[in-house]
């Protein structure tokens, strides 16, 4: 227990900041060191955290020790630990030491880079690290990058740029009175595309889902047909969203073929590679990204699989002028006189922009390109290893190709249950696995089949964790079979 300090009339004193800063640095170091001691999925009931917190804010300032106590007693038990190496749900994202320290600085500067002038270093560092990364993933130099908070927001900006690209001046006139605009994707495309469509006034019925092949990849012929049909019906096709690494099964749409159709049809091509895009860093993965350099816009999230704390989503576009035309709007109090600078506010909705580039700069420099490549390669190796175990075991079945670090599978003991029985069995299996709190997985549905997804992308994930998961999954399946 620390001595109680008298409260300064301004901020916390620097002595106090150091005292509690050191304590929290230790806290974080111990937390990450001991992460495996916690249940990965919070083992609490709804309302349990809330009920322990007071109903009102305190009138008088409290000692920081009390906050640290409550952090340990109330908050920690209710956290689902994304940094846990057995967190294999969603697209797991983990933070790294250099990323966390970068975020500390970003909060300390608290500099809002809406215009160059309001944070020159933030603006130019963002430009620099996005250029570094552009080159690392092999995008040509005509691509301009902008950081947004999440892929959902990056994507919405991309689709708004696609709308602007039609030349119909939606910016001024809105959508009323225009022909119905149509966006193309597949059933497998991320829900953020639907959220973007409903937000932008395109409407969910402005989305046309193109049929996919047996590996859940868009069929370009079907896309071509759909566009022609829609034009005949007086609709206005304006955007195709292709995905490299879909959320359900990490399917890969044939971007190169799709890009050629978009070029002929003069339709904006947005490529969603929020999850898998980081693997474009690996020369041996280049074939999955064929045609990427023909995209009008492309989203990649270093906060997903590159150990940068949330949030950090990059949108690259070969048409920054269109992005700017869609969004730029400068009120008097934001007019500045510097020439040939980037004012990032011109490229989006958000005026406030945190100094996010520091954490990415730290991560790229601390690990180095080769260090990051090595970690990604290890995840890809572990995914193939796990997929091999599934394939060799008569109790299990793989339900999608393993291109990246995600394995879609289900229990299918000796292939002798019906589809509806399998769905019931696998849902039960997933629940009993997650109830242990030892690993955390989520499901999806592929062709109506209840599918378990296991994602390998955590910074602290080693072979032993994948072995542990495999053992637990087998144990739980055996228990269910013996019931």
């Amino acid at each position: 227990m620390s001595k109680i300090k008298s409260k300064n009339s301004l901020d916390m004193t620097s002595e106090e900041f150091k005292e509690y800063g050191y304590q929290l640095i230790d806290w974080v170091a111990d937390y990450l060191d001991n992460i495996e001691k916690y249940p990965v999925l919070a083992q609490i009931k709804p309302g349990e955290v809330k009920s322990q917190l007071p109903g009102k804010a305190p009138s008088n300032g409290e000692n920081f020790d009390r906050m640290i106590d409550d952090l340990n007693k109330i908050i920690l038990p209710g956290v689902t630990h994304w940094n846990h190496p057995n967190f294999m749900a969603y697209f797991n994202s983990t933070s790294s030491g250099p990323g966390i320290l970068g975020e500390l600085l970003s909060a300390a500067f608290n500099a809002n880079g809406m215009v160059w002038k309001s944070n020159p270093s933030g603006t130019e560092l963002e430009e620099t690290v996005l250029n570094w990364f552009r080159e690392i993933i092999g995008l040509p130099s005509n691509y301009f990058g902008v950081v947004y908070d999440t892929a959902s927001v990056s994507t919405m900006h991309a689709i708004a740029a696609a709308r602007e690209y039609t030349g119909l001046d939606v910016r001024t006139n809105g959508m009323t009175g225009l022909p119905k605009m149509i966006l193309y994707c597949t059933e497998q495309t991320h829900s953020s595309i639907e959220k973007a469509a409903l937000t932008l006034g395109i409407g969910l019925n402005g989305i046309r889902k193109i049929a996919t092949d047996e590996n859940f990849a868009m069929l370009p012929d079907k896309l071509e047909e759909a566009i022609k049909e829609d034009r005949l019906n007086g609709y206005h096709p304006f955007c195709v969203v292709a995905t490299i690494g879909t959320t359900s099964s990490t399917a890969i749409d044939p971007v190169d073929a799709i890009a050629n159709i978009c070029a002929i049809e003069k339709i904006w091509l947005h490529v969603d590679s929020a999850y898998a895009g980081v693997t474009a860093m690996l020369p041996e993965m280049k074939n999955f990204f064929k045609g990427m350099e023909k995209a009008d816009s492309l989203v990649i999230n270093p906060h997903k699989w590159l150990f940068v704390p949330v949030d950090f989503s990059i949108l690259y576009t070969s048409k920054p002028d269109v992005m700017k035309r869609a969004f730029s709007l400068v009120p008097e109090y934001l007019k500045t006189t510097e020439e040939s600078v980037i004012n990032y506010m011109d490229y989006g909705i958000q005026l406030g922009r945190r100094f996010r580039s520091i954490k990415f700069w730290f991560v790229l420099r601390y690990f180095g390109v080769e260090g990051l490549q090595q970690r990604l390669r290890e995840h890809l190796r572990l995914a193939k290893l796990f997929a091999g175990w599934i394939d060799e075991n008569p109790n299990f079945e793989r339900l999608a190709p393993v291109y990246f670090g995600t394995i879609c599978f289900r229990a299918n003991p000796n292939n002798n249950l019906k589809e509806d029985q399998l769905n019931v069995l696998n849902e039960k299996l997933l629940n009993v696995i997650n109830e242990t709190g030892k690993i955390f997985l989520v499901h999806t549905k592929l062709k109506g089949k209840f599918t378990i997804r296991l994602v390998i992308s955590g910074l602290r994930m080693e072979e032993r964790h994948v072995e542990f998961a495999w053992k637990l999954i087998n144990e739980k399946l055996n228990e269910l079979k013996n019931q």
Copy 2:
């Protein structure tokens, strides 16, 4: 120079994290302690930061010491210091010790609270602190809060909810084929409303700007007339944005009267109080917020004037069901079974949600409600003090009422220059002031007059800083007069 550690194959070791974590805690403490030694506005030329950074990311990981060196040598000189007590531009926002430490934890947890299950503590702490704050500012308990990153995004969500509230099912059908929707605000309303309109497909010409009185406040009679006229013309009035504390001059629209019109007309009322809303904490300021409790939605940014690091914008709404109807969309892999929990992803575009509530929790508890009130009151006192100096001095003129912490003024020496001469003089004056790097102010235009804005909201701001600013402004004006 620290000893070079061998790189772990996973994350930074905890020893290394502690070593550099302590160094950066010291760095931040010293930075904030010595903030007044830096020029407030970065004194660099465009490109100066960029040119010192290498063209490529390093192949091999670097020692953290080198990053700290570059931070000092390259980054720091290019930062505009928002924490500087002489930063009196825009709506200054400053971070506080407890807020910075909260952000450190948020980055460490890196927990993504898209659904309750993926971060139960994050979800329930957000609910709790937003309820605390709701009560502090005097909003009734039927208001539901959601944290977004910025006011621009909060506002866009509010306007999308307004659109949903029309019952025209824009979500499904989009805007094509619907009557033209009209949103009402004033010339003084923040540019984010225009960005929202162009994004949502309403279009800039779907915004109708209502005339204002001599203090830049919306005239309710004119609003009423405009709505009637638009209905007669077959348009669909759907949203009014009223502001308590506009960006240019902190004008106050008569929310109570506007709310009554909206109720009769069944139009959604959004209240933008991103800047000034925090002063609803003070009983003596309540009169400025009359009718606030009739708003359908209301935005307040604790990251603006409550010492919470960017980003933290709160949207309160009395119609959370409409918000949810506008945005909820749950793909298979995000389906969860817990009942009566909040899944915050249902209320917006962004799926990824940082654990932002920690920093607000820390700030509210560390300072306490009275501690925060005391700091706001001091800022209000200083603003009145500065306004008094302007009013008493024949060389200056005040151009708007001072309700909060912002003073709009211009030099007008003995009232003997013409309007265009005054504009030239004041633009020059602002430039020479900012060129000193000692204080940072921005301008606006009010009724065509070039207006200097001085904003008092920084956590580290004391009377001596306001005195210093006043002295410098006078000195620079005298220099210009003697040229």
